[in-house]
Amino acid sequence: MKASTHTEVYRPFRGELTTRRMRFVPLLSSNLKTATKKRLPLVLLFAPLAIGTVIFSFTVYAGFAIQAGDPPSALGGGASIASIIGQALVSQRTQQLIQAREMIVNFHLATNMFSLLLMAWYGAGVLAEDRRLGAHLLYFARPLSRFDYLLAKFLVIATFGVLGAVVPGLVICTVATFASPEWSFLREEYDVIFSTIGFGLLWTVLVSSIVLCVSSLASRRSFALVGVFAVFMLTSATASIMAAMQRDSDFRALSPMLSAVRLATSIFELKARHASWNLTLAWSSVGAYILISWTLVWLRTRRMDVVQ
């Protein structure tokens, strides 16, 4: 076959390409930018976390301030009646709230659902929508490996996870650090900061992996969103029912969420009612969920090339 149009002309590639290897970065930044373009979900999803962070931060601050004999002006300050009432109200809880460690754990447990919602909302479509739109065809025709592609997609979800599960805890720790008399929080409870980061990252990795997996299995974002909540709700319900029926708390390991709660009590060294079952099993459960999720994601991504 002869191309009669322009066989004499040939354009060799003369562009200048960057040699860096982190090809996932443009995909990550672009996906994050696109995800945050809609303001309303952003406000609605972050608002509970922000409010919770402010309330817990204030409570920690108030606890330390009262302990130091300097009640915050928001509670009335000085010797006014309001101040006395405020101090009375706060002092009832002082014994409980002064335990910043417990508060931070409680905060994590209370906000788990919100950070899950955040990750699910922003992560449900990362693979499902690419598959539906055929956008992966554009990516895989670029010098972008499947690993880069998956890493970028995972980090999109994980970014929201860190914002929802790590940053608020760190804000409270920071408040506790500055509010505690003579840096007592930092000197005596510094491990809480590491535990906050550790548990936050663990929760982020666990949820992000499951969200990514469900997204790779679903054909639409809405299906993936429902799927994520189905995974967490159904496994938790099943685990609780099995544990109650069999009178064996180890069945809680069936649920990634209950396993994470168990790990939280261990990481923060708390003695709680959640902590009565096998820790190794909880670690195994979380590990298994992450491993299975990634295996499925990898298999499904290999099959993304199949004609839709």
């Binding site: 076959m1 322009h6 390409l17 995909l27 696109t34 956008a135 554009l138 972008l144």
Partner: protein, 309 residues
């Protein structure tokens, strides 16, 4: 550099479904049309070509390299898939710039190239609108823009003119011609034959996953000896001309249409063309037009598909 794509016994199967099977083809630099009805295996062939699919059998070489997983090669390719592939929340500019960055350019370079590419597809005015508001034609053009923004050596386009209105279609054909003139090679698929005919005479014809024909359209047509060539002649003295043409060897039928056109079929076009001029002069027929009505891509396509059915 003369050969762009070299496929040898290329096959790709999806379980029991045949994508392409036993395709051996050599595509030179230039503009080549990949033709076939829906489900012929065009998209599969193009995905094999850009390295998105691994061949189940045989081999394919693009620009001298195996494409599957070859990221160095991807930098030299531009691909416009058939699927929509656009994020609704992105603007056309963001979309093209982002994909150009993925090709390996810095942010500033990518943005400059995105602007240039959008200009070339006449989408500058809508560049900063979200793609959710784009018409089908605009979406198609923004996909073409991302395929050409990094100035690849080989541009692979899967049904690039789907959804374009006639004016946009004309502009896109002009753009492809310009790109080809600049030295880029283009492989484009289509099932709309006249689109391809407007761009190139070189075709690869697939049907049911198999290679049906390859080469220049007139060469392929010449190989179809089982189908007589149809010719339409408009002449002042059409009746006299028709009578004279009946005597030419190889002419199997001559008809006169109501509007006075002579429609004839011949199995030996070379001989007919040789004799025709002499007869026309001798009969003083007053020839006004002469057209081989089934030498076009459409007719070739129909004959080949019919023959393979």
């Amino acid at each position: 550099m003369s050969t762009l794509v070299e496929a040898r016994n290329l096959g790709r199967f999806y379980g029991d479904v045949v994508g392409v099977s036993d395709v051996t083809v050599s595509i030179p630099t230039g503009v080549v049309g990949l033709l076939g009805p829906n489900g012929a295996g065009k998209s599969t062939f193009l995905k094999l070509l850009v390295g998105e699919l691994r061949p189940s059998r045989g081999s394919i070489q693009v620009l001298g390299h195996e494409p599957f997983g070859n990221r160095d090669l991807y930098e030299r390719l531009g691909f416009c898939p058939q699927q929509d592939a656009l994020y609704a929340e992105m603007t056309g500019f963001e979309f093209v710039a982002f994909l150009t960055r993925l090709a390996g350019y810095s942010r500033s370079d990518a943005e400059v190239r995105a602007v240039r590419a959008l200009e070339r597809v006449s989408l500058s005015d809508a560049a900063h609108q979200k793609t959710r508001g784009y018409s089908k034609g605009m979406r198609q053009r923004v996909k073409i823009a991302q395929a050409i923004a990094h100035e690849p050596e080989l541009i692979v386009l899967d049904e690039p003119m789907t959804g374009l209105d006639p004016i946009a279609r004309r502009d896109v054909v002009r753009l492809f011609t310009e790109l080809a003139g600049e030295g880029a090679s283009i492989v484009l698929s289509s099932h709309v034959l006249h689109e391809v005919e407007a761009l190139t005479k070189d075709i690869v014809l697939l049907h049911r996953g198999r290679l049906l024909a390859q080469g220049a359209v007139h060469e392929v047509r010449a190989l179809l000896s089982s189908h007589p060539r149809k010719i339409e002649i408009k002449a002042r003295e059409s009746r006299r001309l028709a009578r004279a043409l009946l005597a030419v060897e190889g002419v199997s039928s001559v008809k006169l249409s109501r509007d006075g056109h002579v429609l004839l079929e011949t199995s030996d076009i070379a001989r007919f063309e040789r004799d025709f001029a002499a007869i026309a002069v001798a009969e003083r027929a007053g020839i006004e037009s002469y057209e081989a009505i089934d030498a076009g891509l459409e007719a070739v396509f129909d004959y080949l598909v019919e023959a393979s059915a």
